[in-house]
């Protein structure tokens, strides 16, 4: 795309710059830095701090460079006595009541106010008046501490909350020098994106509660990394002090994160050093775990698995997990299972998602920003892929993209969107409806985001997208994985029916290719998927189960089945970071390395492959999953791979893994191959239970992170106002939901976004596991303790 260029002169230097660019940006082309406070390239300019005033020939008054677009022939000076005096003046004003407590301020050393005072400020302030005192160290929410004295009212934080998240909770109140940044409504600032304001804040007014007082920036060693919290693939920096991970901040990748992070990605990292990390291998002896050496653990696993293989055949072993592993580890995992355990039973799917990518409708996360139509299918993006949600909100909020949502739970957006509430089994019908088709027909670019749940939904989606494509739209399907690297695991063949590179397990040629590369015979036939492995195990027909970063008790929709399987299976190995509910059932527990402790590649939900290098030593004796697989294979007498180079070659050869991209799943996988899932529970009385994802729920890192746990959602059942009124439920009341012999207590909440006739409960809560109920259950509601009548 060619852009019209104009010529400007800044301090005598000429530069060609795109027409209409803001002067503050354009000056950079001439190598001139204009100081700013309120301006931020990712926010709409407001021109309030007045730090960027410069002189423009022909203008009577100095102009703000941050709001002035360049015009051809513009002659600008940023270094005149007038400009310098104004810069000194603005800084003098800003420091009038600033506490100058830099020695104890987290921002010290990386503070724009400090730096610009140094560079542009007056040698000394002239005020004789005592400083105005304001509240310090105010808790603004779960993770943010606010120091009002330091605030310079640049409004970056409030603009972020208005323009980017569109949540409008953080605002300016009062007038003149009484201006204050606050949530105004008394509610804490608990946006999923609150942490971004810390980075936006050009002073130390907004600081991280977790990082506060932990380090001086110049003592930090910084490592570029990729967040492994979800498949959005946001880029981060990890900041270490003497090997301790102290902070996670954003590293702008315009294609993926656009420079933002969610609060889970930003604040859920202290578990890495947490007490509850597994640091030594454990073996259960007489019902209790004892710490053992790796050698002992491997020897035990090798002995048991060899025995199973000998006595019952490899197919009596099952292996589940992989969606959280690196591409390399996922590859090695399935190779270990197939080539070393001799089992075809390997599956990455630990929850309800059955597919992670779609070759037929490729798309990039950044497409969302260009979309003219966005469709959300059975997905609450904020809860699963939060930073991607910001893109959706922006695209829809500016009125450019039509937004609609289909599914049992609706998102809560400020911008208008079309809601198509539908129970899971009704989704295919909605997708096939003319109404939906007509809504999107003719839109130049349609992006569909989907949870990857339900084969029938996949088939219906494929049909809809094909129709839209035929009608002339460019269509993309982005599948938001439940696990960070679902796509990588799927592509690497952690799948009972697919070898690396999606090659069908039963395809002779494909088998031969793999057998040649591995120099072993592949186990016969297709493997069992997760549900079937669990069913077999529960039926006493599986001898061993190997779970890798798979906390099935929390993630699998049928908790009862998991419980039966885990207690029934004679030999259970769990490889994880923590002693999860699932791990507690294990015979051997293997401590795995956390994300900063290992190298490898991750695949984002649009197929982007990103490499990271190990950033810290592993805690205790924990080993990377890659090393565990290799050494376990070794203990079983097999060398899994000879060198990194060989591994890379193998992955490329078999899985088509190339730098930068991974191939996506072929069309027939999306359209619903494999057996039909059992139909959801039958009709009946009561509200339909809709377990919904909550960003901070789940049985893993959020739960085992002492400094993040406070943010975990409570056991809350959300009702539509009409249902609440009909059932006599007030917000805050204690209620019991019961179905099929299961009953659980929740605190009631009333929320307009809940679909009438349903009740939403969080998924993955330890204290009230929603998967204890049967899928699609209708629950009876009993009010246990109403809230005290409000006196008004």
């Amino acid at each position: 795309m060619s852009q019209e260029m104009v010529t400007i002169t800044v301090n005598g230097r000429q530069a060609q710059v795109p027409k209409g660019m803001l002067l503050v940006e354009a000056a950079k082309y001439a190598g001139i830095d204009i100081p700013v406070f309120c301006y931020h390239p990712k926010l709409d300019p407001v021109g309030v701090c007045r730090m960027c005033l410069v002189e423009v020939e022909g203008q009577r008054k100095p102009v703000p460079a941050c709001t002035t677009p360049v015009a051809d022939g513009m002659v600008v000076r940023t270094d005149t006595p007038v400009v310098q005096r104004l810069q000194r003046g603005v800084i003098e004003f800003l420091l009038l009541n600033h506490p100058l407590d830099c020695p104890i301020c987290d921002k010290g050393g990386e503070c724009p106010l400090q730096d610009q005072t140094f560079r542009y400020g007056p040698p000394q302030g002239r005020s004789l008046d005592p400083k105005v005192r304001k509240p310090k160290a105010v808790d603004l929410g779960n993770f943010i501490v606010f120091d009002q004295e330091r605030c310079i009212l640049c409004r970056r934080c409030t603009r972020f909350d208005h323009e980017i998240t569109q949540e409008d909770h953080l605002v300016i109140t009062q007038r003149a020098h009484e201006n204050r940044v606050t949530t105004a409504d008394g509610a804490p600032f608990n946006s999923y994106f609150s942490g971004n304001t810390i980075e936006l804040c050009p002073v130390g007014a907004l600081t991280s509660d977790i990082y506060r007082f932990k380090a001086r920036p110049w003592d930090l060693a910084r490592v570029p990394f990729v967040c492994t919290g979800c498949p959005a693939g946001c880029n981060v920096y990890l900041d270490f002090r003497f090997g301790e991970l102290l902070r996670v901040i954003s590293r702008d990748n315009p294609e993926l994160d656009g420079g933002w992070l969610c609060d889970r990605g930003r604040f859920n990292y202290r578990y890495v050093h947490g007490e509850e990390r597994l640091r030594r291998p454990l073996v259960k002896k007489d019902g209790a775990f004892v710490e053992v050496s790796w050698e002992e653990a491997f020897a035990e696993i090798a002995r048991r698995l060899r025995q199973v293989r000998r006595d019952r055949g490899g197919a009596a072993i099952g292996a589940i997990g992989g969606g959280r592993l690196t591409n390399e580890e996922a590859y090695l995992f399935q190779k270990l299972v197939r080539a070393v355990f001799g089992s075809p039973n390997v599956d990455w799917r630990v929850g309800e998602q059955y597919i992670a990518s779609s070759r037929e409708f490729p798309g990039r996360i950044s497409d969302i920003s260009q979309a003219s139509g966005i469709l959300l299918v059975d997905l609450l993006p904020a809860e699963r892929i939060p930073v991607v949600d910001l893109r959706i909100r922006r695209a829809a909020g500016r009125g450019r993209a039509l937004l609609a949502a289909v599914g049992p739970a609706m998102p809560t957006y400020r911008p208008e969107f079309k809601a198509f509430p539908a129970r899971e089994e009704e989704i295919p019908r909605v997708l096939a409806s003319e109404e939906l088709f007509e809504l999107y027909r003719g839109r130049s670019r349609v992006v569909v985001l989907w949870s990857g749940r339900g084969r029938a939904v996949g088939a219906a989606l494929a049909a809809l997208l094909r129709r839209l494509k035929e009608a002339g739209s460019e269509v993309s399907l982005l599948i938001a994985g439940e696990q960070a690297n679902a796509w990588g695991a799927e592509a690497m063949g952690v799948h009972p029916e697919r070898l690396p590179g999606y090659a069908p397990v039963l395809h002779e040629g494909a088998r031969r290719l793999v057998e040649q590369a591995w120099q072993v015979a592949l186990p016969e036939g297709a493997g069992l998927d997760t549900a079937r492995m669990l069913q077999r195990a529960a039926a006493g027909r599986l001898e061993a189960l190997y779970l890798v970063s798979a906390n099935l008790m929390a993630t699998f929709p049928d908790r009862q089945l998991v419980e039966q399987a885990l207690s029934k299976v004679p030999f259970l190995v769990v490889q994880d970071l923590f002693l999860t509910e699932t791990a507690k059932h294990a015979d051997v527990v293997l401590p795995a390395a956390a994300f900063p402790e290992k190298s490898g590649r991750y695949t984002a939900m649009d197929g982007t492959v990103q490499a990271v290098e190990q950033a810290m030593e592993a805690e205790g004796d924990a080993l990377s999953d890659r090393e565990i697989f290799a050494r376990l294979a070794q203990a079983m007498g097999v060398r899994l791979y000879a060198s990194d180079q060989e591994l890379a070659w193998e992955m490329q050869h078999l899985a088509g893994a190339q730098d930068g991209r991974l191939a996506a799943a072929p069309a027939e996988m999306l359209a619903g191959e494999g057996e039909e899932e059992p139909a959801p529970a039958a009709e009946g009385e009561g509200l339909v239970l809709v377990p919904v994802e909550r960003l901070y729920a789940g049985g893993g890192t959020a739960y085992f992170d002492a400094e993040f746990r406070r943010a975990r959602p409570k056991a809350e059942a959300r009702f539509h106002p009409e249902d609440a009124a009909r059932l006599g439920i007030a917000a805050g009341a204690a209620v019991e939901l019961a179905a099929g012999g299961v009953s659980q207590r929740y605190e009631a909440a009333v929320d307009r976004s809940v679909v009438a006739g349903t009740v939403q409960v969080p998924k993955g809560l330890f204290e009230a596991p929603a998967n204890a109920f049967a899928k699609g259950a209708r629950v009876a509601v009993t009010v246990l303790k109403p809230v005290a009548e409000e006196v008004s």
Partner: protein, 179 residues
């Protein structure tokens, strides 16, 4: 919190207010005025109601509300006496007037008489009654040339429950000065 009574009571009026503007959000101030007319001040539940009507967050409504001096966010007396504290009134004895009112009412500026009848305020904004300095407003109705004696008479009328408009009719500022 349930919606305050004015929302139901003025259902049609609210619709009518919103319809006056090309964009709904413009109704924010009129709705706050409506709420304040009913209660005499703006309570949290009013903020919440306005937010709900307009589809904005409470924070946004509070942010706007707090910008304006005439939206009171705490309970006020039945009569609010606001003395102009700007220059012309100031040079014409406004502070003496305030002192007198404080003594007479037994309260300080910003306070309300214990019986809830009168709140005394001073505004920094010129109330555009400089031709009647020192001036004050009783529930936004003007009184001019308010000497301590006239102030006493005004308070007497207030105590009798007189309508502020009627008070202003007696103590207001004539548009044309007799020569």
């Amino acid at each position: 919190m349930s919606a305050p009574a004015w929302v139901e009571k003025h259902k049609e009026k609210i619709e009518e207010i919103i319809a006056r503007y090309p964009k709904k959000r413009s109704a924010l101030m009129p709705l706050l005025h409506l709420a304040q007319e009913e209660r005499g001040w703006i309570a949290d539940e009013d903020i919440e109601a306005v937010a709900a009507i307009l589809g904005e967050t409470k924070s946004v409504v509070e942010s706007v509300c707090s910008f304006y001096s005439l939206f009171y966010r705490r309970p006020m007396g039945k009569y609010v006496i606001t003395v102009c504290g700007n220059i012309t009134c100031g040079l014409s004895g406004a502070q003496e007037l305030v002192d007198h009112l404080e003594r007479r009412l037994g309260i300080k500026v910003g306070e309300t008489t214990p019986d809830g009848l009168i709140t005394l305020l001073v505004t920094g904004e010129c109330i555009a009654a400089c031709d009647g300095a020192p001036a004050l407003q009783v529930n936004l109705e003007y009184c001019g040339n308010v000497t301590p004696e006239r102030a006493d008479e005004i308070i007497e009328l207030i105590k009798k429950g007189e309508d502020p408009a009627a008070i202003s009719d007696r103590f207001g500022i004539p548009p044309v000065k007799a020569v």
